[in-house]
Symmetry: D2
Subunit: 141 residues, 4 copies
């Protein structure tokens, strides 16, 4: 299953070349992650990820350029890998109509954080179970 | 040889967790690339990269957290790979004093652009020669 | 009549104090102006404001603090004053439920621009007529 | 006396029109205020403004457009008015060479904050004395 987030653009997301700036797509990914971890996951468990998460790594490939538009773009997010203390998310940013292929493909490694005690921590069983529901099965036989 | 750029921070680079936000480091890399391509390269050839470049890919690893400080951070940039129509840059972001290891290690693939005609283009011989001067030899025997 | 724009927040709109940063509200005003001038006005006249507008002045009063939320805030925008070559907009940013009073009251002077010829210009009759429809009459007897 | 802050620009400060965006100048003012309140004032008293300040109002007039440049702009900041619990700063943003008049003139009302107890507070005598040194006397006879 994939998590789908409708991400509104801002006119100021464009740079002096008149396209959405490459750095800004990482804001779209951030918004999708927050929607996934701080809203969707907490419908399963109100305590899930309450101390936040730390980004350990991003990979991002830019496939097509995007100009500001009134309609949101769709960020699809799914879980690619889980370890005891990290989750790897994969994403595609595309038009809601899915025409023309994705603008961006990306991958982020996040580590759950214990904000109160100030250190990284392991995934809780409830968090792990929630995340396992988002392993991508769209290409499976 | 490495290109070294002193990158000033802004207080607003911090997010609600009180650290420099992971997305903002890509701004620091952007500033270092612009200093390298639009200032340093043009001391060699005033026409170098005048049509801009397009980012095709970023990889970034976050190693240590950074809090706003008055002193700039150092972005070291070097060339890792050249093809006919792309350059791969590697970077480290560190304290000028180099204490405590880098905050970030990253890699960007850029493609030169022909702004007037609106398409990607090959590296010119002068650009290639400039970039070859920045292959990293710091670890060579 | 007031123009009403539902403005989505981003988590990164908060600063290190954990509130929406004072500068970011001007982005919300910018989004509302663009929705007003580049979308609503062009439903009246497709040529309206096509060369853009230049901001000549902002005034902004901060009344209440705002924390990131999933729901958008409402930016209400109306026309306070028109001259031959400028429009003064007033705004309030508030919760859709209008509880607790506005977060922000602000005012912006904009000047229409002729992008092709690179100079400021007068309002066209169609633009003026469109804007006159948004003089605020909410407090009139 | 005026406080003078050399503010570095970033390439991304420009918007799709190819000029520094009107909202970004408020970041330059923020950087100047932080340099003034969190660095300069603490050379007088290490406890000055340690709980931060809250912005109550901005006024900003845009006089000339600015394109990204390698050299910083100068933000001159001085104190226009003090009350028991607020300070009004005035600013000009200009080229270091002071040619061509300021890009921006602005004014900000700030209120000192007690971060630990979560409320606004009065200026301390040491803070007041520091600020009084920055009443502008440049136009006095």
């Amino acid at each position: 299953m994939r998590h789908s987030y409708q991400c509104p653009l801002r006119w100021s997301d464009m740079d002096a070349f008149g396209h959405v700036n490459n750095v800004v797509y990482l804001r779209y990914l951030e918004e999708a992650r927050i929607d996934f971890l701080a809203r969707a996951a907490r419908q399963t468990d109100p305590e899930a990820f309450t101390g936040g998460t730390v980004v350990a790594r991003h990979e991002i490939d830019y496939l097509r350029q995007l100009v500001h538009q009134t309609d949101p773009v769709t960020v699809e997010l799914w879980v690619e890998k889980l370890t005891a203390a990290s989750a790897t998310f994969a994403y595609e940013i595309r038009d809601p109509a899915s025409e023309g292929g994705p603008y961006v493909r990306a991958r982020t490694v996040v580590v759950p954080y214990n904000l109160r005690e100030g250190h990284l921590r392991r995934l809780s069983p409830v968090e792990r179970s929630f995340l396992e529901g988002y392993f991508d099965d769209s290409h499976s036989g």
